[in-house]
Symmetry: C2
């Protein structure tokens, strides 16, 4: 609909380029051969050129002698056969009598070992059709057809305009800390990259103030400077969205304001002088999805090609995904092949988190007439990576630990990609039960025995045979601000009136550990302020402390150290890998075990601080 | 094996680049966040920031009034929440009492509508692992982590050296005709494109003479000029191959000379100063396959990534493919989904024909221990195009006509790609019988009735219901050199002693037509010199005449016209499309019928000369 409204006169024209520079460009018309290939009869072998008639009757009992320079002429592969010859006898098949004579014992057919004129293609034949993206192979064909320059569609030029008073540009020359309250502008840099990969030329304008006249001026400049499309990336607030819509309306026409999709709802589609002007939402994920869905088809239309669609595969969702009726929703997911199924684990839905795109293997679209999808339902997933790389994903679900990052990095040279979800130790065991992971991470303390994991495994997944392997030992303790301003000494301080705690979620091993110590010290959780506030990772707990959301939380030493916080040790615990036997011989698992047993992994883990690797890689 | 022998000191190092220019580059180390994202508590909605405590107890019956500037502060999305606030009430949910006061009817939980520090990621967390190809999305994540520059692996630099006395470089500025006997150099341009798509920087040296010392000097220059790899693309003759091997040996070491693969056999793998020096075969298809198989893994190794492998699918071969034991053979194939099967039709195997690569959808590898594969056997095919585009291939098998090129070009805007094989009219009917095409092209004259095609259809594929639709009428006749030097007037001249004929293959409609006229005129084919010499297309017949291989052949007027030859009309015939009913409603077929019934197609066909379109698109 929107595409149909574009004025073709605003499209880029065509241009002539050197063939050798044409890879990836789109032909604007078919390319016809100017010369045939080969353009002369060519020897296909090293040997002697001759007339086939002169060989007739030759046989082992009846060799025929040929005189060099009269009956036959020496020739190398690729050279033109002399006039009045029509075959080449291979050098291996001649018996020299003397310097001037040789014998052959087999007759040649006409044109044997000769590549005839036009064998590959003939002058005037179509070599490459129109509206076709040129490959390196085709560059070879076009050059061999005697063509040095061809006509291609000019690349559409797009101007991306970032607007927003809170935005700052990252300085190219030096890294500087953005002042508090300012946001580093990166949306237009991402969109420029996406547009260029699709065949456009893109520029990012300087940041424009978040007001009506500045936005309007920026659009006018873009439209008048010869850009074929202008994309406003205004802040996502209602105010700036209104400025964008009003500015487009005053200069041309707003065709669409607001679309029934999430993320991406505040998208604006407009026309100024027949040129597309898009108002893109400000949240990074919304900005990307909106441009991919509405901007890229415009680029393809201008290039005269079909917008490339992502390949898709069927996958089973790892958990229920709720979605609202009346709007199309886009969920970023991680994928992994577990047993015979491809499992899709949804990433957080927040449109502000660019890492939900960088970590995603694919995107699930839930149509506007569907109200969510149930756990284990089979749905199509648009792939952001190759199907082959998804086969190489090692799906780890369970307890969070900072050493998983190191493991992930160490596995990359082995072409294995760790996909980890932090749902706590019990959540990991549940994932094994649901067959939605290759292994779980767990550090569940049995209060009775003081041992880790086995009693929980026997209780929660009694029917699934697993191997238990130690990953690391690690120091758990209280994370407090630098200098420990509230002078917290231990668990007993958590009940103090002036102390706010930040907890881990139910089922997390760290929470089990805390509860064990509270129980031992006879402390009622009800007396701890913030006991009901939950975070999902050690790092999030540390951030809550760093940012003043809480005064203290429980987590591993490495998390405190990474953020420059203080740490009060409470206990050393055992962090294990729970591996179903059915996957134990999988090459990815075996490679992973090699890595954690290796020196490089252990050295990097020890450098984090608060870890022990004495039994790393050993069966528990 | 070869990779293991490379000296790592000869690999490219790493370099620092601006993040905004880093798309597609490979990280040399993990990227850790310098700042958290968001790096302050941020309003996620437009509204008022407040302490959640101040809203406790609010309800529809018990609204709570808040004073702007004392209890609540106006805030836009993306802005930092003021100190001592921990929630944002949406502007839609406040009821203004006056300019300074509003009421709310619902309590807020702590951190409601606030994006907390580190919600996306936390300073020190790994954003991108090492040895990873950076995507546009990741550029966004890295910039938002406050990082303007990162370290990436330097691109490997490759020098391609074309050598061969027969080679000429196509002039960049103007198209000139290469002198007879000279070959336009394009192999290194193709290889440069392939190398650059794999992440290298490539240069092509000037053409080097085909002698030992020139080749040796060129290698020395390459190795000493800081290239990480040197690739010789010498002529494929035994002589130049020997020069390459000897030159590499004198400077370093030849590890492999000759590999058990076809095409690509004469490949040379060597080392000079620990740097890889490849001797690549001269035939274009051999040059490409050899570099892809031996050169690209070196590029990947130098970048520290895994060489990307092509996706593959299973397909059924349309005909028997013979192959020799003891060497791996590579067959280029066209693919098409016909019914439920994917059909692979082998292209000509000649390594000199670059169009066997440009036209190929995929490559079948036959291992060295397998002696060919039988018709309809299921084999894996490495894809050169996306699986989606293969679903869009329209497979046409049968009689050749020049209008098929026009049809192919006209279908591209509809995202339909014609895959045509020229096997003659009867071959087309056989392909329908074997269910290896979507439609066949045919112009088989029934000598008894003077009508076309139906009697053959009833005889050869009686069990398969088809629709017959006329494509064009066309003039068939004798193709002779310009000026008609032998003064050929008609069919009866073909028996002349001084006339050599070039025929079409058995089963071709044109041959049936010729035989019909020979029969009518009482001519015995045995008396025609060249009757047993066969070509597969009208164009090949015209080329045979143009190049002096024959004095006369039979074919369509357009083929003569395209090559500037003279034409003696013999008959007007009917060229039809045979479409199995099971595919008739297929969208690709329906779209194809729309195209041939349209004005644009007909106009282009008429411009070829010798065609009639009066009944084009009508049922026969």
């Amino acid at each position: 609909m929107f595409l149909g409204r574009l004025d073709k006169r605003s499209f880029p024209g065509s241009e002539t380029v050197l063939v050798k520079d044409a890879i990836g460009r789109i032909t604007s018309r078919p390319v016809f051969a100017r010369l045939s290939s080969p353009h002369f009869h060519t020897a296909a072998m090293d040997g002697f050129a001759l007339m086939s008639d002169s060989s007739y009757g030759a046989g082992p009992e009846n060799p025929i002698a040929l005189h060099i320079g009269r009956d036959a002429w020496s020739i190398n592969t690729g050279r033109p056969v002399p006039p009045n010859t029509n075959a080449v006898v291979m050098i291996e098949n001649v018996n020299f009598i003397d310097d001037e004579t040789f014998e052959i014992e087999k007759a040649l057919t006409p044109w044997e070992n000769v590549r005839r004129v036009g064998e590959d293609f003939v002058a005037s034949e179509m070599i490459v059709p129109s509206h076709h993206k040129i490959t390196p192979y085709e560059v070879g064909a076009i050059l061999s057809a005697g063509i040095a320059k061809i006509e291609v569609v000019s690349k559409p030029r797009i101007l991306f305009i970032p607007s927003g008073s809170e935005l700052v540009s990252i300085d190219d020359a030096a890294v500087t800390d953005p002042p508090k309250g300012s946001v580093i502008e990166f949306n237009t840099v991402v969109l420029k990259g996406i547009a260029e990969q699709a065949g456009a030329i893109a520029d990012c304008s300087p940041i424009v103030a978040d007001d009506y006249s500045s936005i309007k001026d920026a659009i006018v400049t873009g439209v008048e400077s010869g850009y074929n499309m202008v994309v406003l990336n205004a802040g996502s607030s209602a105010g700036s969205e209104d400025y964008s819509a009003a500015a487009i309306k005053s200069l041309g026409e707003v065709l669409v304001h607001g679309v029934a999709m999430m993320p991406g709802k505040p998208t604006i589609l407009g026309l100024v002088d027949g040129k597309p002007v898009l108002g893109n939402p400000g949240y990074p994920v919304s900005a990307v999805l909106s441009f991919e869905i509405f901007g890229l088809p415009v680029v393809a239309e201008m290039l005269g090609i079909k917008a490339s669609s992502r390949p898709s595969i069927m996958a089973n969702v790892a958990r229920k995904i709720p979605s609202k009726l009346g709007r199309e929703e886009f969920f970023r997911v991680r994928l992994g092949k577990v047993g015979t199924k491809v499992i899709a684990a949804p990433l957080p839905r927040g449109a502000g988190s660019i890492t939900t795109l960088t970590r995603a293997d694919g995107i699930i679209r839930i149509p506007s007439n569907v109200e969510g999808i149930g756990r284990d339902a089979t749905v199509p997933v648009e792939l952001l990576r190759s199907p082959e790389s998804i086969d190489r994903n090692l799906v780890i679900i369970g307890s969070h630990d900072l050493t998983l990052d190191i493991l992930a990095d160490e596995l990359i040279p082995h072409n294995i990609f760790v996909s980890s979800s932090n749902v706590g130790s019990l959540g990991g065991l549940l994932a094994i039960k649901n067959r939605s992971c290759h292994l779980a991470t767990s550090h569940l303390l049995d209060e009775q025995t003081g041992k880790y994991n086995w009693s929980y495994i026997n209780q929660y997944i009694p029917d699934i045979p697993v191997k238990l392997i130690n990953a690391v030992h690690r120091e758990q303790g209280l994370i407090v601000p630098k200098g420990n301003p509230k002078e917290i000494k231990g668990i007993s301080d958590l009940v103090r009136e002036d102390v706010t705690f930040i907890n881990r979620q139910k089922g997390a091993g760290t929470r089990v550990l805390l509860d064990y110590y509270l129980h031992r010290q006879g402390i009622d959780p009800k007396n701890i302020k913030g006991y009901s506030l939950e975070e999902y990772t050690h790092t999030s707990v540390a951030v809550a402390v760093l940012s003043g959301v809480a005064d203290v939380g429980m987590g591993v030493m490495a998390a405190a150290k990474a953020l420059g916080l203080d740490f009060i040790p409470v206990a050393t615990e055992q962090y294990d890998l729970v591996i179903p036997e059915e996957f134990f011989e999988d090459e990815k698992i075996q490679r992973m075990l090699e890595v954690i047993r290796g020196d490089s992994f252990k050295k990097k883990v020890l450098a984090l601080g608060g870890y022990g690797v004495e039994s790393t890689g050993q069966f528990v």
